[in-house]
Amino acid sequence: MGLVNLRKIRRAKQEIGGREVAVVISPRPEQTRLGTTVWQTFKSLLTGMKITISYLFRPSTVVTQQYPENRETLQMFDRYRAQLKLVYDEAGGRLCNCCQICENACPNQSIKIEWTKNPDTKKKELERWIWRMDSCTFCNACVQACPSNSITFGNEFESAVYDRRLLVYTLNDKAGPDAKVWSAIEDPAEREKLMRKMDRYSGPIPLSGTSLPGNPSGKEG
């Protein structure tokens, strides 16, 4: 039995379920004389070798990212989903108004928004915007669902940590009212008084056990 002649692809019409379908039929091995088979075999091996050797002299076709050597120049795509971020307006006010639609849209409860009601203004004030990266599947459901476009995915993909508990983030760096209240006040000093500084790891810590070294509020979540 000889080799397959790959150019011999037949086109035909076949019937299935009362319907005619245009098909291409696979090539099969042909009966050839022994001498021809031996010659074809050697030729096929050399053809393959030719391709491999040609790549030896054309290394420009390498598409792999040379990470981490190219760390300085590596450009991720804009839409790449890596780190969840809150969006702020030009004045620095946080757009999120604690409507919790993203919390309901999240398929695996990776988002938790803690808020309090300000007794003076009767408005929701954000306490903690907790994102559990350890259970997040980066499905983009929260970003899609957000009615005020106040969350987005960033490109910073280097998110490995040594302790799983460090994957629970408090995304807001300041607790307090949202951009509407913030932007209405013009004096920057007055604005700052409304906000309290938040630590990136000040949220609840999953996995019962000890608190993390260096984390003052290592309460169990």
Partner: protein, 386 residues
């Protein structure tokens, strides 16, 4: 699925040389669940006589995650991101089948732009899946070079997905009522470049692997699956088509815009490993043809026809839809009780059936052939267990 043992006698092996030319005793050996040639956590229990395979018993359940059950406890939109994780090399088609059924159930209409983009994305995914498979079958047959080349070409398609969607593997792109986001401004240009790049590469695949005498000897007339067996095992996709049955849902029940494009269904003649191999290579060329016909004609329109924040509540009833992934027919069955979560969510996945024909066709061949046959079936394990 468990191994059924009726009596102890079933596990007692015949004495040496009873029905074998070799005077050896038969023995059981586990291939997997951690084995490089099983492409995942699949355990094959083999009854061997020397190196001859007498029986193959697939043992499943090592990667069962209860996706169907989780789907019953999450809303219709949340279900989509789970099905990415079935057959991760056909993630977009899996998204599409659930979206298709939910749209049908809830009476959501889509526009032409959405259907065009979905079809192009599905074909790109098929190309991506087949290039990866081509590399892997090369490696299973002992050639490492194709593995690198396959992954290299897959990288271009993955970059296209990454630019438009933002993820490379589990994409969650096709959703009920439309798409997650519109195509990137570079999408059309990049896709055309990719096709121009890939066409000569498929010829190179032919020169490097398909035409190679050793590869042909390893595949031709090995593991023959007849058309009758293929149908009775319920196999679909390239495995069924390689047995000579031109069953392709893209032709038979055109969905998306497959009705508007011209392409041929690749079929085999004998149903051996070679046919399963070459059918996929031919399918790559057909996919290129389909994308080329569509890429310049994407109409204008919205990419989402419904409000994302609004819950989908299909009326009570049972709904089914199916389409062709890179590996065969995936079907999605939803029973709705009128609430925002499905009452029952079931998936008919192609790899489960495609794997099971291994029990028949691998019989009588050597272990090395079993690896080649399993590789030619192109099974993805998370799709079997789900």
């Amino acid at each position: 699925m468990s191994v059924k043992v009726k009596t102890l006698d079933d596990l007692t092996l015949p004495p040496p040389g009873a029905d074998s030319p070799l005077s050896t005793q038969e023995y059981f050996i586990n291939m997997g669940p951690q084995h490089p040639a099983t492409h995942g956590v699949l355990r094959l229990l083999l009854r061997l006589d020397g190196e001859n395979v007498r029986e193959v018993i697939p043992v499943l359940g090592y990667i069962h995650r209860g996706i169907e059950k989780i789907g019953e406890n999450s809303s219709y939109r949340q279900t989509i991101h789970l099905v990415d994780r079935l057959d991760y090399l056909s993630a977009l088609m899996n998204n599409w089948v659930v979206s298709m059924v939910v749209e049908r159930a809830a009476g959501i209409e889509t526009n032409d732009r959405i259907e065009y983009i979905r079809t192009i994305m599905a074909e790109l995914q098929r190309l991506q899946s087949h290039t990866l498979w081509w590399g892997v079958i090369g490696m299973d047959l002992g050639a490492f070079t194709p593995f690198l080349y396959g992954f290299r070409d897959r990288e271009y398609a993955t970059d296209i997905f990454e630019e438009t969607i933002g993820a490379r593997l589990t994409m969650n792109y096709i959703q009920p009522g439309g798409l997650m986001n519109d195509i990137h401004p570079n999408f059309v240009k990049r896709t055309k470049e990719f096709l121009e790049y890939l066409k000569p590469k498929i010829d190179e695949y032919d020169e490097l692997v398909s035409g190679n005498a050793i590869i042909q000897k390893r595949l031709v007339n090995i593991g023959i699956l007849s058309a009758e067996d293929a149908i009775s095992f319920g196999t679909t996709g390239p495995v069924l088509r390689a047995s000579g049955v031109p069953y392709d849902l893209r032709k038979i029940e055109p969905y998306g815009v497959y009705g508007k494009v011209e392409f041929d269904v690749a079929v085999g003649q004998a149903g051996d490993s070679w046919d399963r191999y070459i059918v996929r290579v031919m399918e790559m060329r057909e996919s290129v043809k389909i994308i080329e016909q569509l890429i310049d004609n994407i109409p204008e329109g919205d990419y989402m026809t419904v409000k994302v924040a609004k819950a989908i509540k299909p009326p009570e009833g049972r709904y089914y839809g199916h389409l062709e992934t890179a590996r065969g027919v995936i079907g999605c069955f939803i029973v709705s009780d009128g609430k925002d979560k499905p009452y029952r969510f079931h998936l008919r996945t192609p790899n489960f059936n495609n794997l099971w024909c291994l029990t028949k066709i691998a019989k009588g061949w050597k272990i090395a052939d079993l690896v080649a046959i399993a590789s030619s079936l192109d099974i993805v394990i998370p799709d079997i267990d789900r």
